[in-house]
């Protein structure tokens, strides 16, 4: 069976299929509509797509036949919950879905803006996780706040493959939270992170992880591309270490991919800085570490080395085995068949690429 690369773009869902190293576009779904999230539940090969209609709000669809047909699922709703006292909450965006583990078939976690985590035991109806919504830090505007958006949002949900009760979420802005009891209680796990944009740069809560991933082969190793650098923990979030490049590059960015088997290996696609969200010296560069972030190697083979303005958003970089792929905010799509050592452009004509997934 061929590998498929699913691209969630600002103008539709675009599906590519690979045959002996060549990628062909095989279908376009939700033509013209903004796709804000793509997730493939590898337990059942169910595809999930969130749409962010300009007029009609957020919608959630799923497909059990690889996108040949779609069913609209009841959108998670905040109903009578309040964002802050006196201010009703409403769904702004669906950012991420994560299955709840092999021992919870059908179970799904779903992260949203304005900061609510939802859970569904069957993928049919999602309910707000009250314990996190009522966490004292969430109600404090100094601890949970919007960054680039009006509201905080949960963009990363990572599950411990050893124990489905144990997971972490990443929130922009608030930071990392951990539960050991399937979401009944939550603790902040931000020690070692830096929030350079706050008067106190080391608060317990108030951090801006851009993307967080957990290594399945060693679930105590978690990586994050943060607003203030690249961080890694080897003890399940007890302490984060800044592993940004010693020269200040790589440091700023959104995209992160990690090796499923080797907890020492990861890739980032940095931007020059917060103020200049363009490739450093306008050379599109992937950076790879094979030693847990002690050193980084720049990779430019196959990537434009001049006048490139590509920015890779947080969910637009994916890895599966030796295959890696990323899409950019200006519609370029690249793949690598050799663990990121070299790259080939698949398309230069896409809309803004928000989200990628392999199936």
């Amino acid at each position: 069976m061929s590998t498929k690369l699913i691209v969630g773009s600002s103008k539709g869902l675009i599906v590519f299929s690979e045959q002996t190293g060549r990628w062909d576009c095989i279908s376009v779904q939700f033509e013209g509509l903004p796709v804000s999230m793509v997730y493939v539940d590898d337990r059942t090969n169910t595809w999930w797509v969130a749409l962010s209609h300009r007029h009609w709000g957020e919608k959630l669809h799923c497909s059990t036949d690889e996108g040949q047909s779609w069913e609209e699922v009841v959108t998670p709703a905040y109903h009578d919950h309040f964002y802050r006292p006196g201010k009703p909450a409403s769904l702004k965006k669906i950012w991420v879905i994560q299955h709840a583990g092999a021992d919870r078939p059908g179970g799904l976690w779903l992260g949203t803006e304005p900061g609510g985590l939802f859970y569904s035991p069957d993928g049919k109806e999602f309910k707000l996780v009250e314990s996190l919504w009522n966490h004292p830090s969430r109600l404090d505007p100094n601890q949970w706040f919007g960054a680039g958006k009006d509201y905080p949002f949960i963009h990363s949900i990572v599950l411990d493959p050893r124990d489905s009760r144990h997971l972490y979420i990443g929130v922009s802005c608030a930071g990392v939270f951990e539960t050991h009891d399937h979401g009944k209680s939550w603790d902040a796990k931000n020690k070692g992170l830096v929030a350079a944009y706050l008067p106190n740069p080391t608060p317990e809560v108030g951090h801006d992880p851009h993307r967080m991933l957990l290594c399945p082969a060693n679930p105590d190793v978690i990586w994050q591309q943060n607003h203030c650098g690249i961080f890694r923990t080897v003890n399940g979030g007890e302490l984060w270490q800044d592993i940004s490049g010693s020269t200040g590059f790589p440091k700023y960015g959104f995209a992160l991919a990690i090796d499923e088997y080797d907890p020492e290996t990861a890739w980032v696609i940095p931007a020059q800085s917060d103020e200049k969200r363009i490739p450093f010296n306008l050379k599109l560069t992937v950076c790879r570490t094979g030693d847990g972030g002690r050193t980084w190697k720049d990779i430019q083979d196959g990537l434009p080395n001049a006048n490139a303005f590509d920015l890779v958003l947080r969910h637009a970089f994916v890895k599966k085995g030796e295959l890696l792929a990323f899409g950019t905010n200006n519609g370029n799509l690249y793949t690598s068949h050799d663990s990121g050592s070299s790259w080939k452009v698949i398309s230069k004509h896409l809309p803004m690429t928000n989200y990628l997934a392999f199936a």
Binding site: R54, H55, W56, G57, K59, A77, H79, D80, S90
Partner: protein, 90 residues
């Protein structure tokens, strides 16, 4: 009995949607009744807290409704209710 009309943009999601007569005293009642005929359309028109979505406009007797929060604008017999999308760029 009032007449309700829709932007054609909604036909993509509700293919059988056409204008029809509706019995309702307020805009909220009208939308709830429309949802009975076209299940799910309320989620396209209203936020999950019940307010009219920011980029949806409803015209009653040719003018924008005034109560976008509670949708309590009164409907009279033979009124025309038009549901449009707001203009947008991009």
């Amino acid at each position: 009995m009032a007449r309700v009309k829709f932007t054609s943009a909604l036909n993509r999601f509700f293919p059988t949607l056409t204008e029809f007569d509706i019995e309702a005293n307020t805009v909220r009642e009208a939308l709830q009744n429309i949802d009975q005929v076209h299940p799910g359309i309320l989620t396209y028109l209203l936020e999950d807290n019940g307010q009219l979505r920011k980029h949806v406009n409803i015209f009653l007797r040719g003018e924008l409704i005034t109560d976008r929060e509670h949708l309590n604008d009164a409907i009279q017999s033979r009124d025309e209710l038009i549901i449009f999308q707001a203009l947008s760029g991009g």
